[in-house]
Symmetry: C2
Subunit: 182 residues, 2 copies
Amino acid sequence: MTDRDLAWNRLESETVYTCPGFDVINETVQLPDGTETDFDYVAEGDSVVILPVTTDDEVVVIEEWREPVRRINYGLPAGGLEPDDSEPAAAVERELAEETGYEAQRVEHLTTVEPTNGFADTVFHYFLADGCTPTAEQDLDHDETIAVSTTTFEKLLSAVREGELRDGRAALGILYYHAFEA
Amino acid sequence: MTDRDLAWNRLESETVYTCPGFDVINETVQLPDGTETDFDYVAEGDSVVILPVTTDDEVVVIEEWREPVRRINYGLPAGGLEPDDSEPAAAVERELAEETGYEAQRVEHLTTVEPTNGFADTVFHYFLADGCTPTAEQDLDHDETIAVSTTTFEKLLSAVREGELRDGRAALGILYYHAFEA
């Protein structure tokens, strides 16, 4: 299949809702069969997701409230890219320090995926942060309350297997590392 | 950490934008430190994501246009639950037939995750669909154009490793199956 067979033609595009987390874009598009229709998607942008491994070979994990699903979430530190970030790796050190108070000796890109590209333009850049030690100051946004702890990679993988780690963003990073890096 | 330490208190909730794919909910919330603030999230709901394995031990994959990221996406069939679906498994047979024209002999739940619970309530229920044969009629929604093919699981896993399969929804299912089921 080629672009010609599957691609949509964007005719008009308008931001119809804005909030601190995302924008909503409403478009008029032409489908491959020529018909015109509306399509809405969420513009949320790029984030880094970090697998922080300490000098004691433990993983730094966080717990935080996730309002859309109304529960405390157990997972990996993460955060959005900022305009000053020249590349995704630049966000890793900042987000790791802000959310956990840890600093890494070495950062390595693992993979990059679009988690929900049917309705959002979100991109997750996964990084291994190796040789982490608790030397920084946790520095949270006004609406963040984050509890930090450490665990073993084996326990995290078991939590993914049993469906106890329900955060798909963290689960993908753990599974990728297990498959190709561990 | 307990709910008391991390949970937000929902004071008000209002649907502020509606479209065929999702709603946007604006809330007034009280943070753990007592301050009140706004929070917006996307209400998009539950979907099934299907790993369809044929009687010849190949995986049925699809290509479709993804407007939020403006490219043809290579991945696994999936689709939203409908009001009549008594449970997620009920959606598997329908979505598999509609998107691919295949029918399965056996369906098995793999895992359930929230891919982007920082800004959306989206839930993905992963299922293995085993013993698939091309016996149904592809029956697409008005804005779907989907190309169907088959490949080996090893090639899919390699595409995830190399970052060629950029769809995180599909990548998580492939990695979970590789880690715990294959």
